[in-house]
C-alpha cells in the first residue's frame, strides 16, 4: 500500500508545473552557451587572418612568458618562542561555552576554526545547533568594531573611560536614573559585575530584554505557583506531547537540548524496546516541530485559546464558563483524541504552548497540573535561566526615557532600535538620554571600517565594543546548578574590551581585571558546587568546562486557582486576533535558523535553508496554497502586509500545512546595520508585535494586498530532484510493532547482476547509517560540514541558479496523510492542509558501484579500498559528467573562485575571514567538481593517531563533522568490517534500506525507515 504513496518536495513538483519539468531536464540551471556559439553567428563572423595570427602570437607569447616566471618563493616563518602546548599542524581544544552549552573550541596555530559540542554537556551531550556551529565565523567578521567609538569617531579606551566616568559622576550627583538593558544574562560573574556597578551608582537598574521573550510563561508560573521562573521541560520523560504552537525542536527556548530529549523516545534504541512517544501539534505555520509531529493540526492563532479551553474541559470533564465551540471540525476532533491520550499517559504527558500570553499559559499550567506533569515532565525546581526578560520593563523604560528621568543607558547584547516593536518611539525617547553606551561588537552599513555598530549603537554616543565570546572570559548558568566556563581561545583580534571589564572600570571596582573577577567568583562559591577548590580545582574546571551541582528533587505542583477570569482573558485575546472581512490572521514567528536576527551577518546561517520552506537569505509571507488561490495569488507575487499602519512587502510562499486564512512572517530579517551580509536580507517583522496584557503578542490582524511585483525566492526545495523516484520509506508505529521490517521495501532478496567488478575492502569499509526517525531536519550538520570542509557560500543570486555548494543537504518531502495516489489527486488541495513531512539528509552515498566513477574521462573520481568515493580535485577538468550521472544529485560544481572573487564579498574574499578555513582541507578552484569526502581528513587523522599509538582503530574514534554536531545522533559512521561497531549494528536493523537500491549502485549509506506514531482512526 505504501508503495503508491507519493512524496514531493514542493508544489511545483506535485503539480508538475512546466517550469519544474523544464528545469529538471537539465542538471544545471544555466547551460554553457556552447550550442549558441557553434550554431549561431559565433562561427560565421569573420576574423581577419592577420588578427587571428596576432592574437595567436600574443597568446603563445604571453603563456610562454608566464611560464618562464620562477616559482614564487615561499617563506616559512617559525615562532620566535613557541608556546609549549602548540605543535604546528596539530589542533588544540579548549573548553568554553556557547548559549549555555559546554563546547570544545578547536584551534590551529592559535586560531579557532571549529566549535564542537563537549560530550560532557548535560544539555545536548555533545550536540550543537547550527547557530553554535556558525558562531566561529563571526570571530573573523571584518565588520566587527575595531576600536572604541565616541560620537561616531574611533578613539582610545582612555578617552572613552574618561568621558563615561565623568558623565556618570555628574549623573550620580544629579541623582538621575541609569539603566542597563541586556538580553538575558545568566552568567553569575556578569550579574555580580552589574551588581557592583549598581552599588557604585545606586540609581542604576538592570533589566533583561529579550527580543523574543518568554514573559508569558514566567508570569503564568508566578500567577499559578508563585514562582516567576522558566521551568525545565523534560521531553524525554513524556510519552505524549501536545504542543500548541511551541516550536521546541526549532526556536523555542533550548533547541539542541529538546531535540535530544525528544528523539530519545523515538530513535532506534527506543523503537527496539517497542516504545515511541506520541506528538500532536496544533499550530498556524508549518514549523520544524510541526513537521516532525505524528499528527499536526493547522489552527489559526485565534483558535489556539479556544482549543486549549476545549482540551481543559475534555481532560477535567468540566465545562469552563464561557466555553466556545471551535469552528474547526478537524481540530475539535483532534482535541478529543489528544485529551484521551493525555489522560491515558498521566504523569508522562506534557502540554506546551508557544504563546506569550499570560492567560493562555496559565491555562496550560492548569492542564499540566491535571495531567500530573509537574515533578515529572516539567521541573519547576531546577529551573532554566535561558530567558528571563520581562516585557513590561522595556515599555516602562520608554516611558521613563520620554519623561527625561533617565540620563544614562547601557546596551549589552541588546538591539531594541531594531527589534523593539515600537522602534521609532524607542529611538525618539533615546534621543533624550544624555549618555548612551552600547557594547555592540559588530555591525556596519557596508562601507569601510565600522564605526556604527548595530542599529542601536549607531544612536549612542559611546560604543565600547565587546569581545567576541571566543576572546572572552566568563561563565554561564542556563540550568539551575549547571555552570559552564567561557574561556578565550584567541587573543583579542581588535582593540576591543570585554563589556564586564568596561563596567568594572567605570564603577571603580577594586578588581578591574575581569579574568581575576571571574576567578574570584568561582573560587568563592561556584567551584565548590562541583566539589572543586583552589588552583587545582580551577585547572580541572578549565579542562572539563563545567560543574554540576546535585539536582534538586523536582516536586509536584498543583494548580488551584480559579480559571474564570483566565478563560475570559483567553477569549478576549482570541477575539482580538480574529480577522473578519478580507483581513487575515498574522502569525509572527522565529525561524529556527535566523532566530531574533542577532546573527544576521553570518553568511553560513543566511545560506542555510530554512528546514521547512527551504528558503535562504530572506523571509517571506507564508500562506496556504488553497487560500492563496482563492485570493488569486500566485507563488512569488509580492504581498503588502499591513498591521496598524506598519507594512512590509514580502514575496508569497505557498506553504502546505499553513492554516487557512493566515499569514506567517519570520522575524530576524530586514536588518539595516548588521553588515553587508545581513543588510537587506528580507524585511523586519518585529513591528508586527503588539504589547497587550503586559506581554508581547505575536499574533495580529493584518490586511494584505498584492503589489503586482513578482519576486523569485532563493529556495532550494526542488533543486536536485529525483524526478519522482521514491527515496523515502516509512511505516507507522503500530505496524512496526507487529513487524519490524514493515514499510521497508528493500530488495535484498532479489538476485542482482552487476556490470562492475567486485573489489575487496580488506581493512575498512567506511559506511554510514542515518536514522530518518531521529533526524528532525534542523540543519546543524549542514553548517558543521561548511565549517569543516571549507564549503563556500555562494549568495542569493547563485542559489536561485541552483548553484549552492552544500555537501550535505536536508531534503524535505511532503506527502499526504491519506494514501493519495496519482489517480486520487483531485481533492489534493484540501489535503494540502494535512501533509506529513519527512526529512532526509542527503550526501554523497559513496556507492560501491558508483555511476560517477565510470563516466569520468580523467579518472578524477575513483574508489578506494576502504569503500570511499575519492575526488581528486586537481585531476578534475570539469566535464560535469559525474554530476549528470549521479542519481542522488550530490555533486557540486565550482562556478567561481569563491574565495578570491570580489562578487562573493560576503564570505571568504578577505584575508582576515580566510583564517577560519580548515587547513586540513583544500579550497577548490573554479571549474572543479566537489562533494562529500566522508571527512576523509578525519579518517586519515584517526588512522594515523591509532598507528602512532600502536593500537587498532576503535569504533567511535573517527567522527564525521555532521555526525559530531547532531544533537539526536541521527548519523552514525563507522567500519562495517567490524561487526561489533555501532554502524554495523545499526545497518543490521530491519528498518535499514538504501536509497534507490534498485539501481544496484550499492550505496554506502543506509537509511532507517521513518516510523510515525499515527493511529488508523485519525484524520
Amino acid at each position: 500500500m505504501e508503495s503508491n504513496k507519493k512524496y514531493w518536495k514542493g508544489l511545483e513538483e506535485l503539480n508538475n508545473s512546466p517550469e519544474f519539468v523544464e528545469l529538471n531536464k537539465n542538471e544545471f540551471a544555466e547551460p554553457i552557451p556552447i550550442e549558441e556559439i557553434l550554431s549561431g553567428t559565433g562561427l560565421m563572423t569573420k576574423t581577419p587572418r592577420r588578427n587571428f595570427l596576432k592574437a595567436l602570437g600574443f597568446g603563445v607569447g604571453a603563456v610562454s612568458l608566464a611560464a618562464c616566471e620562477k616559482v614564487p618563493v615561499h617563506k616559512s616563518i617559525p615562532y620566535l618562542i613557541k608556546p609549549e602546548e602548540i605543535t604546528p599542524g596539530i589542533a588544540n581544544y579548549y573548553t568554553s561555552s556557547f548559549d549555555g552549552h559546554a563546547i570544545l573550541v578547536k584551534t590551529r596555530e592559535g586560531r579557532p576554526i571549529k566549535v564542537e559540542g563537549n560530550p560532557t554537556d548535560i544539555l545536548a551531550g555533545g550536540g550543537l545547533t547550527a547557530q553554535a556551529q556558525a558562531s566561529v565565523l563571526e570571530l573573523y567578521d571584518v565588520n566587527r568594531l575595531q576600536n572604541p567609538v565616541k560620537d561616531g569617531e574611533q578613539t582610545s579606551w582612555d578617552a572613552v573611560d574618561y568621558f563615561v566616568k565623568s558623565q556618570l559622576a555628574t549623573i550620580k550627583a544629579a541623582g538621575k536614573q541609569i539603566r542597563i538593558v541586556s538580553s538575558t544574562v545568566n552568567s553569575p560573574s556578569t550579574l555580580a559585575v552589574i551588581a557592583d556597578f549598581i552599588k557604585a551608582y545606586p540609581t542604576a537598574k538592570h533589566f533583561n530584554y529579550d527580543a523574543v521573550s518568554y514573559t508569558g510563561i514566567i508570569q503564568a508560573n508566578q500567577n499559578s505557583f508563585g514562582k516567576a521562573v522558566l521551568p525545565h521541560y523534560r521531553f524525554d520523560k513524556a510519552d505524549v506531547i501536545v504542543s500548541f504552537g511551541a516550536d521546541f525542536l526549532g526556536s523555542w527556548i533550548s533547541q539542541a537540548e529538546f531535540m535530544k530529549q525528544y528523539v530519545s523516545n523515538r530513535n532506534s534504541k527506543s523503537l527496539a524496546g517497542k516504545k515511541m512517544s506520541r506528538h500532536i501539534q496544533f499550530e498556524t505555520g508549518m514549523s520544524v516541530t510541526g513537521s516532525n509531529a505524528d499528527v499536526r493540526i493547522p489552527i489559526k492563532p485565534s483558535e489556539e485559546g479556544i482549543a486549549l479551553i476545549a482540551l481543559y474541559n475534555a481532560i477535567s470533564g468540566t465545562t469552563l464558563p464561557g466555553t466556545q465551540k471551535l469552528n474547526n471540525d478537524v481540530a475539535e476532533k483532534s482535541i478529543m483524541i489528544a485529551a484521551k491520550e493525555l489522560q491515558a499517559a498521566k504523569g508522562k504527558a506534557l502540554v506546551v504552548a508557544g504563546s506569550n500570553d499570560v492567560a493562555t499559559q496559565v491555562l496550560v499550567n492548569a492542564i499540566n497540573s491535571l495531567l500530573g506533569s509537574y515533578g515529572t515532565t516539567i521541573d519547576l525546581d531546577n529551573t532554566s535561566n535561558q530567558f528571563a526578560g520581562n516585557d513590561h520593563e522595556m515599555a516602562d523604560l520608554v516611558t521613563e526615557m520620554k519623561s527625561g528621568a533617565v540620563d544614562a543607558i547601557f546596551f549589552l547584547n541588546a538591539n531594541p532600535a531594531y527589534d523593539y516593536y515600537l522602534a521609532k518611539d524607542f529611538k525618539d525617547a533615546l534621543a533624550k538620554v544624555k549618555l548612551k553606551v552600547s557594547f555592540s561588537d559588530h555591525g556596519n552599513n557596508g562601507e569601510g571600517v565600522s564605526t556604527l555598530g548595530d542599529e542601536t549603537s549607531s544612536l549612542c554616543n559611546v560604543i565600547a565594543p565587546n569581545h567576541h565570546y571566543l576572546e572572552s572570559w566568563g561563565d554561564e548558568n542556563v540550568l539551575e546548578g549547571y555552570y559552564t566556563i567561557v574561556q578565550p581561545a584567541i587573543n583579542p583580534v581588535y582593540n576591543t574590551r570585554q563589556a564586564e571589564q568596561s563596567l568594572l572600570i567605570w564603577s571603580d571596582a577594586p578588581v578591574k581585571d575581569y579574568y581575576t573577577y571571574v576567578r574570584n567568583v568561582w573560587d568563592k562559591e561556584l567551584l565548590a558546587k562541583g566539589g572543586l577548590s583552589g588552583q587545582k580545582g580551577w585547572e580541572t574546571l578549565l579542562q572539563t568546562g563545567s560543574v554540576k551541582a546535585a539536582e534538586k528533587t523536582a516536586s509536584s505542583y498543583t494548580f488551584s486557582k480559579d480559571l474564570t477570569a483566565v478563560v475570559q482573558k483567553v477569549l478576549d485575546h482570541s477575539k482580538e486576533v480574529t480577522a473578519d472581512g478580507d483581513k487575515v490572521e498574522l502569525q509572527v514567528y522565529q525561524s529556527s535558523v535566523m532566530r531574533d536576527g542577532k546573527k544576521a551577518n553570518n553568511p553560513w546561517l543566511q545560506e542555510l535553508p530554512d528546514p521547512v520552506s527551504k528558503v535562504t537569505w530572506e523571509n517571506y509571507a507564508a500562506i496556504a496554497p488553497k487560500f492563496g488561490e482563492k485570493l488569486g495569488y500566485k507563488e512569488g507575487d509580492v504581498l503588502k502586509v499591513t498591521v496598524n499602519g506598519y507594512s512590509v512587502t514580502l514575496p508569497i510562499l505557498f506553504q502546505p500545512g499553513q492554516a487557512q486564512g493566515t499569514v506567517s512572517v519570520a522575524v530576524g530579517y530586514g536588518r539595516t546595520l548588521a553588515g553587508p551580509v545581513g543588510n537587506g536580507a528580507g524585511q523586519n517583522a518585529f513591528p508586527f508585535y503588539s504589547y497587550r496584557n503586559g506581554t508581547m503578542q505575536t499574533a495580529a490582524v493584518a490586511s494584505i494586498e498584492k503589489t503586482g511585483d513578482v519576486y523569485t525566492l532563493a529556495q532550494t526545495q526542488t533543486h536536485h530532484s529525483y524526478e519522482g523516484r521514491t527515496v523515502i520509506q516509512e511505516t507507522t508505529f503500530d505496524k512496526y510493532v507487529k513487524d519490524a521490517s514493515s514499510g521497508n521495501r528493500s530488495e535484498r532478496e532479489h538476485k542482482t547482476y552487476t556490470l562492475w567488478d567486485e573489489y575487496e575492502r580488506p581493512q575498512y569499509n567506511w559506511v554510514m547509517a542515518i536514522d530518518l526517525n531521529a533526524c528532525t531536519g534542523c540543519g546543524a550538520c549542514v553548517v558543521a560540514c561548511n565549517a569543516e570542509n571549507n564549503v563556500p557560500v555562494v549568495g542569493k543570486d547563485e542559489v536561485r541558479r541552483r548553484r549552492e555548494m552544500h555537501w550535505i543537504r536536508i531534503d524535505r518531502y511532503y506527502s499526504f496523510n491519506e494514501n493519495v495516489t496519482k489517480e486520487k489527486e483531485i481533492d489534493k488541495l484540501d489535503n494540502l492542509d494535512h501533509v506529513s513531512v519527512v526529512y532526509q539528509p542527503m550526501l554523497c552515498q559513496h556507492c560501491d558501484h558508483a555511476p560517477c566513477e565510470t563516466v569520468c574521462p580523467v579518472l578524477a573520481t575513483v574508489h578506494s579500498s576502504e569503500g570511499i568515493n575519492h575526488m581528486a580535485y586537481n585531476r578534475c577538468v570539469g566535464t560535469r559528467y559525474c554530476a549528470n550521472n549521479c542519481p542522488y544529485k550530490v555533486r557540486r560544481f565550482n562556478w567561481f573562485n569563491y574565495w578570491n572573487d570580489s562578487r562573493f564579498d560576503n564570505y571568504l574574499n578577505n584575508e582576515h575571514t580566510q583564517l577560519v578555513l580548515n587547513p586540513d582541507v583544500v579550497t577548490r578552484f573554479r571549474g572543479v567538481m566537489e562533494k562529500c569526502s566522508m571527512c576523509i581528513q578525519r579518517i586519515q587523522a584517526g588512522k594515523l593517531k591509532a598507528k602512532i599509538e600502536k593500537r587498532p582503530v576503535k569504533d567511535g574514534d573517527i567522527k564525521m563533522a555532521c555526525q559530531q554536531t547532531c544533537p539526536t545522533n541521527a548519523i552514525v559512521f563507522g567500519n562495517l568490517n567490524d561487526e561489533t561497531s555501532e554502524v554495523a549494528r545499526a545497518l543490521k536493523s530491519e528498518r535499514t534500506y538504501y536509497v534507490l537500491e534498485e539501481l544496484n549502485v550499492q550505496p554506502g549509506i543506509g537509511y532507517q525507515v521513518k516510523v510515525r506514531n499515527t493511529k488508523e482512526t485519525e484524520a
Binding site: A67, V71, V73, H74, K75, S76, I77, P78, Y79, L80, I81, K82, T87, P88, G89, I90, E760, P762, Q763, V862, S864, S865, E866, I868, H870, M871, A872, Y873, N874, R875, D920, V921, V922, S933, I936, Q937, Q940, K943, L944, A946, K947, I948, E949, K950, R951, P952, V953
Partner: protein, 426 residues
C-alpha cells in the same frame, strides 16, 4: 787529571741529568695541574661560566685573575652559601653584582681541585689576552681582500680591454698594409672563390637529397621531442633548489659533525603533519652558551642574527620582545597544498630515515632539495617500501597483511591502499 775530568764529567752529567729530570718533573707537574683543571672546568663550570665572557655567571678569566686571594676563592667555589651566611662583604658584593643569582654549591671539589681550575682559567685568560692585537689586525685584513679582489678584477678587465683595442689597431694597420700590396691578394682570392662555389654546389646537391634531409629532419624532431618531453616532465620540479637563507645554517656542522638528531630541532616530525622549522627558543638551548665556532675568537655573525631576531642581548642575557623580529626562512621543500604529506606517518610509524627523502643533510652546508618531490616519486616509494608493521598492534587486524605474510609476499604501502588518490589529496 784524566780521572778528575772523568769524575767531573760524570758529576756534571748526573747533575745535568738531575736538573733535567727536575725540570722535566716540574713541567710535568705543571701540565697535569692545568689539564686536570680543564677537565674539572668542563665537567662542573661550563653550564654557567665561560672564561672570556658572561654566561649565566660572570666571565671567569678577568674575575679570577683580578682576585688573588685563592683561599677565599676556594671557599666561594666550594660553598658560596656558607660564605654568604657569614655576611662576607666580598661574597655579598659578588652576589649582588651578578643579579642575585645563587651559584651551585660544589662541596665535592677539594682545595686542590679548585686550585687546578683556577690555574686553568688563569692560563686560558692569559692566552686569550696576549694575541688580541694581532687577531684584531688579522680580522681587519681579512675583510680587506674582498675589496681588493673586486678592484683587481676591474683592473684586469680594463687591461684586457686595452689589449684588445691595441690588438685591433695592429690588425687594422696590417690589413691596410696588405691592401696596399694589391698583387698578392688578387692571386690568392681567385682560387678560393672557385673552391667555395664548388662547395656550394655540392651542398645544394646534398640539400636536394630527400633521404638525407628526411633523416636529419627525423633526427631533429626526435631530439626536439625528447627535449620537450623531458622539459615538460620537469616543469615545476625543483630538484636541487638551494635558496639563500637569511641565516647560513650549516646542517653539516649540526647534524654531521655534532651529530645532533634531526628531531631535536624538527620535533614536529614525530607527532605532526609538519616537521616544523624550529622556533628560536630551540636554537637558544645551545646558542645561549655557544656564540661562535670552535676556536674562533669573535662571536659568529650568523649566531648573532638569532639574538637580533629574539631581541636578546648577550651582554645582559635579557630578552626584549619589542625588538624581536621573526626570521623569514625560505622554504626549500614545497609540496603543493593539494597534497597532504604527514611527517609523523612516515617518520614515527614507518620509521623512515629523514635522509631517504631529504638526502644527506648531514653533509649539506646549505640545504637543497634532494628529491624531485613528484607524485611519481611518491608512488614509486609506496610501491616498493615494505610496511613497518612489526610490533604495531594497529596492523594486527588487517586481514590483507596476514594473508600476504602467509604467502610470503611483500607488504608494501601500496598494497594497503597507499596509492589511492584520497590518501593524499583532500
Amino acid at each position: 787529571m784524566r780521572n778528575i775530568s772523568f769524575i767531573l764529567k760524570q758529576f756534571s752529567r748526573s747533575v745535568l741529568l738531575a736538573i733535567g729530570f727536575a725540570l722535566l718533573g716540574s713541567a710535568v707537574y705543571a701540565q697535569t695541574d692545568a689539564a686536570k683543571g680543564e677537565a674539572l672546568f668542563k665537567a662542573n663550570c661550563t653550564a654557567c661560566h665561560k672564561v672570556d665572557q658572561k654566561l649565566v655567571g660572570p666571565a671567569l678569566g678577568p674575575v679570577v685573575t683580578a682576585e688573588t686571594d685563592d683561599k677565599w676563592l676556594y671557599k666561594w667555589v666550594q660553598n658560596n652559601q656558607a660564605l654568604m651566611a657569614t655576611k662576607d662583604a666580598k661574597a655579598m658584593k659578588v652576589f649582588n653584582d651578578n643579579g642575585q643569582q645563587a651559584m651551585t654549591v660544589f662541596a665535592s671539589l677539594s682545595d686542590a681541585d679548585v686550585g687546578n681550575i683556577l690555574t686553568y682559567v688563569r692560563a686560558e685568560w692569559k692566552k686569550d689576552q696576549t694575541p688580541v692585537a694581532s687577531v684584531a689586525g688579522g680580522t681587519a685584513a681579512e675583510s680587506g681582500p674582498s675589496n681588493l679582489v673586486i678592484f683587481g678584477l676591474i683592473a684586469v678587465i680594463i687591461i684586457a680591454f686595452l689589449v684588445i683595442l691595441i690588438l685591433n689597431k695592429v690588425i687594422g694597420t696590417l690589413e691596410r698594409l696588405l691592401l696596399n700590396r694589391k698583387d698578392i691578394p688578387a692571386e690568392e682570392v681567385e682560387p678560393s672563390e672557385d673552391k667555395s662555389a664548388a662547395r656550394k654546389a655540392e651542398f645544394k646537391k646534398l640539400l636536394k637529397n630527400k633521404r638525407l634531409v628526411g633523416f636529419f629532419v627525423v633526427c631533429a624532431v626526435l631530439c626536439g621531442g625528447t627535449w620537450q618531453w623531458v622539459t615538460l616532465w620537469n616543469t615545476n620540479v625543483h630538484q636541487g633548489y638551494q635558496p639563500v637563507q637569511p641565516i647560513k645554517f650549516p646542517h653539516d656542522l649540526h647534524a654531521g659533525v655534532m651529530k645532533i638528531q634531526c628531531q631535536y630541532c624538527h620535533a614536529g616530525a614525530y607527532k605532526s603533519k609538519n616537521a616544523t622549522i624550529p622556533s628560536l627558543n630551540v636554537c637558544m638551548n645551545c646558542h645561549k652558551a655557544v656564540d661562535r665556532r670552535l676556536g674562533a675568537k669573535e662571536p659568529s655573525t650568523e649566531i648573532a642574527k638569532i639574538y637580533t631576531a629574539l631581541g636578546y642581548d648577550p651582554q645582559t642575557s635579557k630578552y626584549d620582545s619589542t625588538k624581536a623580529t621573526p626570521i623569514q626562512w625560505v622554504r626549500v621543500h614545497n609540496l603543493p597544498d593539494l597534497a597532504f604529506f604527514p611527517h609523523s606517518q612516515h617518520v614515527k610509524v614507518a620509521g623512515i630515515k629523514c635522509q631517504t627523502c631529504h638526502g644527506p643533510v648531514e653533509t649539506m652546508s646549505e640545504v637543497y632539495q634532494y628529491s624531485p618531490l613528484t607524485m611519481k616519486w611518491c608512488i614509486q616509494c609506496h610501491k616498493r617500501t615494505e610496511v613497518n608493521y612489526k610490533g604495531n598492534a594497529y596492523y594486527d587486524n588487517m586481514i590483507v597483511v596476514h594473508d600476504k605474510i602467509k604467502r610470503g609476499e611483500k607488504v608494501t604501502a601500496a598494497s594497503l591502499g597507499g596509492i589511492e588518490c584520497g590518501k593524499c589529496h583532500y
